[in-house]
C-alpha cells in the first residue's frame, strides 16, 4: 500500500472518529459553525473537482452548478422514493448502519449520473475552445436548470424537499479527502501528464499523438462525478432543493474559488474555497458591529460585489491566483507567435 493511500485511510479514520464522537456535540452546541463547516466541505469538493477541468486541463467550464444539480436531484429523488425500502431491508430506520449505507448508495448514484451528464455534455462541447467553451458549458448548465424547472417529478419550480438529513462530518470530509486524493492521484499519473499537455499546448499535444479529446472528456467526467457527490451532500444537508440554488452564480462562485486559489494548484484552490466560504460570514458579522456605518452594511453583506472586484483585481495584478505557480502560468499564458 502506498504512502498516499495510508495517509488517506488515516485521515478517513480521523474523520470517522470525529464524526462518531463529536458530531452531535458540535451540531447541537455550535449549530452555526457546524453549518459553515459542512458548507466549506461541499465548496472544497466543488472547487477541487472544477480545478481538474479549469486548472489542470486548461478548459474553462462555467457550468459546474449544473452537474451539482444533477447530483443533488438524483440523490434526493432516490432517497425520497427508495430509501424506505433500502433502510427497512438493511435493518430499520433506527439503525445508523442502514441509513448510512442508503446514503452512500444515493451519493454514488448521484456521482455516476452527474458523471454521465458530464460525458454527455463534454463530448460535444469540448470540440470548441476557450471563450466558446465557457459559454457552451454555461448554456448546458442553464439547460439542466430549465429542465429541472419543467420536470414535475422533481417538484419543478416548487422545489423538492429531501427525506433524511444524512449529511454529516464524516461523509462530507470523507468525500473531500477522496476527491482531493483522486485529483492529486490523477494529476501525478500518466493521465495527469495528458491533462497538462492539453493545457500547455493542445496543438503540440495532438502532434505528439495524444488524444486530446479523450483527456478533456475524462477530466470533465471526473469533475462532474465529484460535483454530483457535492450535490448529494448539499441535498441531504439543506433538505430542500430549488432550481434557483443551482443557477449561473453558483457556477461563478466555484470559478472564483479556482481562480483565487490559482488554477492548477489543488492546495491553493482548497484554501481559497475555505477562505471564501468563511469570508462572507466574517464580513456579515463585521457589518453589524459599530465600526461599520449603516450605509455600508449592504456593501459588506453582498458577497458578489466582493467576488467581482476580487476577480478583476486578481486578473489585473496576479493572474496566477494567490497560490498558483507563476512559472507554469507564465508558460501557459504567454501566446507564442501571432494571434
Amino acid at each position: 500500500m502506498s504512502r498516499a493511500l495510508l495517509i488517506l485511510f488515516a485521515a478517513l479514520l480521523v474523520c470517522l472518529s470525529v464524526s462518531i464522537f463529536g458530531e452531535n456535540f458540535i451540531a447541537s452546541r455550535y449549530a452555526y459553525y457546524y453549518d459553515i463547516l459542512i458548507t466549506i466541505g461541499i465548496n472544497v469538493i466543488l472547487a477541487a473537482s472544477l480545478n481538474l477541468v479549469n486548472g489542470y486541463t486548461g478548459q474553462f467550464s462555467l457550468g459546474h452548478a449544473g452537474f451539482m444539480a444533477v447530483g443533488a436531484y438524483t440523490s434526493a429523488s432516490w432517497s425520497n422514493h427508495l430509501d424506505p425500502y433500502i433502510v427497512g431491508w438493511l435493518g430499520g430506520a433506527g439503525s445508523p448502519f442502514a441509513t448510512n449505507v442508503a446514503f452512500l448508495i444515493s451519493m454514488l448514484l448521484a456521482g455516476i449520473l452527474a458523471g454521465v451528464a458530464g460525458f454527455a455534455v463534454g463530448v460535444p462541447s469540448l470540440r470548441v475552445k476557450g471563450d466558446y467553451l465557457a459559454i457552451v458549458t454555461l448554456g448546458f448548465g442553464e439547460i439542466i436548470r430549465v429542465t429541472i424547472l419543467n420536470t414535475d417529478f422533481v417538484g419543478a419550480s416548487r422545489g423538492l424537499s429531501v427525506a433524511g438529513s444524512y449529511t454529516n462530518l464524516f461523509w462530507t470530509y470523507g468525500s473531500v479527502l477522496v476527491c482531493v486524493y483522486v485529483v492529486l492521484g490523477l494529476v501525478h499519473s500518466t493521465y495527469g501528464r495528458g491533462f497538462l499537455t492539453v493545457r500547455d499546448d493542445e496543438v503540440a499535444a495532438e502532434a505528439m499523438g495524444i488524444n486530446t479529446t479523450k483527456y478533456k472528456v475524462m477530466a470533465f467526467v471526473v469533475a462532474s462525478f465529484f460535483a454530483g457527490i457535492a450535490g448529494a451532500l448539499y441535498a441531504h444537508f439543506k433538505a430542500f432543493l430549488t432550481p434557483e440554488g443551482f443557477n449561473f452564480f453558483r457556477s461563478v462562485d466555484v470559478v472564483v474559488f479556482v481562480i483565487l486559489g490559482g488554477m492548477g494548484s489543488t492546495i491553493g484552490v482548497v484554501l481559497a474555497a475555505v477562505m471564501l466560504t468563511i469570508l462572507p460570514e466574517v464580513l456579515r458579522a463585521l457589518s453589524h458591529t459599530q465600526f461599520v456605518p449603516p450605509a455600508y452594511q449592504g456593501l459588506l453583506e453582498n458577497r458578489l460585489i466582493l467576488y467581482s472586484l476580487l476577480l478583476i483585481i486578481l486578473m489585473l495584478t496576479r493572474p496566477q491566483g494567490l497560490f498558483g505557480d507563476p512559472g507554469a502560468i507564465r508558460k501557459r499564458f504567454t501566446r507564442s507567435g501571432g494571434n
Binding site: 460535444p124 448554456g139 449561473f248 456593501l299 486578473m315
Partner: protein, 316 residues
C-alpha cells in the same frame, strides 16, 4: 385566413423581440471583431441603459409630460417622440462613456494577455455592474416611466401591434442604418474594419488602435443602451439582473450570424427572436429560455463560423 393572421402576428412579435437581440448582438460582434474576445459585461450595459433612462426621465418629465398622454394623436406625436428620443440619446451617451471606461480600466491593461484572462475579467465586470446597481438602487423591480403611450396601432384589422413594438422595430431600423453609415462611410468605420482584419498592419498604417477600440466600445454600448430603453418602453419593469438572459441570447445571436460579422449579428438576432416567439406560440412557453442555448450548441457543433461568418484558420 385566421391561421395566416396568427403567423403574421407571431412574426411581428418575433421581429420586435429579435430587434432587441440584434441591437445587443451588434455590440458583441463589433467588440469581437476588433479585440477577438467576448465582452461578457455587454448584457449589463443594456441593463444600465434601461436604468439611465429610469434615472433621467424624472428630470424631463415636467417638460415632456411623460405618462400624461394616453394615445398618439397627429398633434402630439412629434412631441412625444422627441421626448422619448432625447431620453434614448442621453442614455446612449451615458452608456457609451461607461463602455469606454470599462474598456480603459479593466480590459486595456490585459490586452497582451491571453483571452481567458480577459474573459474572467469580463465576468467580474458583469457581476460588479449587476451587484453595484443592486446595492445602490435596490434589487426589486422598478417601474420604468411611460415614455410613449402604449396602445394597439389602429387601422391594421385584426393584427394586434402595440405602438411600443412599432417603436422598437422602427428605431432598430434607424439605428442599423446609422451604424452602417458609420462603419462603411466614415474614416473611423474604415479603421474599425481594418483593425478587425489585421491589428498589426492596421497600426502600421498609422491608425491609433486604442482610439478605434474605444470608439467600438462606445458604439456597441450605445446600441445596447438603446435596446435597454426600447425594451423598457414595451415591458416597463426593470431590475438589475435583466441583462443576463438577453445578453447571453444576444451572444448566441452573434455566434449564429457569424461572430465579427455585423449584418450577421442583426440577422442572428432576428432569427433568435422569431424562434423564441414561435416556441412560446406553439405551446412551450417555459422552454423559451432554453431554445437559445440549444441553437448555440447546434450551431457550434455543425457550423461554428455561423451563417455569414468566414472560417478562421488556426495558426500554429
Amino acid at each position: 385566413m385566421d391561421r395566416l393572421l396568427e403567423i403574421v402576428q407571431q412574426l411581428v412579435n418575433g421581429v420586435s423581440l429579435g430587434s432587441i437581440y440584434a441591437l445587443i448582438a451588434l455590440g458583441y460582434t463589433m467588440v469581437y471583431g476588433v479585440l477577438r474576445f467576448i465582452n461578457f459585461a455587454h448584457g449589463d450595459i443594456y441593463m444600465l441603459g434601461a436604468y439611465s433612462g429610469f434615472l433621467l426621465a424624472p428630470f424631463f418629465s415636467h417638460f415632456f409630460r411623460f405618462g400624461e398622454f394616453d394615445t398618439f394623436t397627429p398633434q402630439n406625436t412629434l412631441f412625444i417622440l422627441s421626448g422619448a428620443g432625447l431620453i434614448m440619446v442621453l442614455s446612449m451617451a451615458i452608456c457609451a462613456v461607461i463602455g469606454v471606461l470599462i474598456e480603459r480600466i479593466a480590459y486595456r491593461p490585459l490586452r497582451q494577455r491571453p483571452r481567458l484572462n480577459v474573459l474572467i475579467t469580463a465576468i467580474g465586470v458583469s457581476l460588479f455592474l449587476q451587484n453595484i446597481t443592486q446595492y445602490r438602487l435596490g434589487a426589486d423591480p422598478k417601474a420604468f416611466p411611460q415614455l410613449i403611450p402604449v396602445h394597439v396601432v389602429e387601422g391594421l384589422g385584426n393584427l394586434t401591434i402595440l405602438t411600443s413594438q412599432l417603436a422598437i422595430i422602427v428605431a432598430t431600423i434607424l439605428l442599423l442604418f446609422f451604424l452602417r453609415l458609420i462603419v462603411m462611410r466614415t474614416k473611423m468605420g474604415m479603421a474599425m474594419r481594418a483593425l478587425s482584419l489585421n491589428p498589426t498592419a492596421c497600426s502600421l498604417m498609422g491608425v491609433n488602435n486604442d482610439v478605434v477600440i474605444s470608439f467600438t466600445f462606445a458604439l456597441g454600448s450605445a446600441l445596447a443602451a438603446a435596446a435597454g430603453i426600447l425594451v423598457s418602453m414595451d415591458s416597463p419593469s426593470i431590475n438589475p439582473l435583466m441583462g443576463n438572459l438577453p445578453g447571453i441570447k444576444a451572444f448566441v445571436a452573434a455566434v449564429l450570424g457569424g461572430i465579427g460579422n455585423i449584418p450577421g449579428a442583426a440577422l442572428g438576432g432576428l432569427i433568435i427572436g422569431i424562434l423564441e416567439t414561435l416556441v412560446v406560440a406553439i405551446g412551450f412557453p417555459q422552454w423559451r429560455d432554453g431554445i437559445a442555448f440549444a441553437v448555440l450548441i447546434v450551431i457550434l457543433l455543425f457550423k461554428p463560423t455561423g451563417l455569414l461568418g468566414k472560417p478562421e484558420r488556426e495558426k500554429v
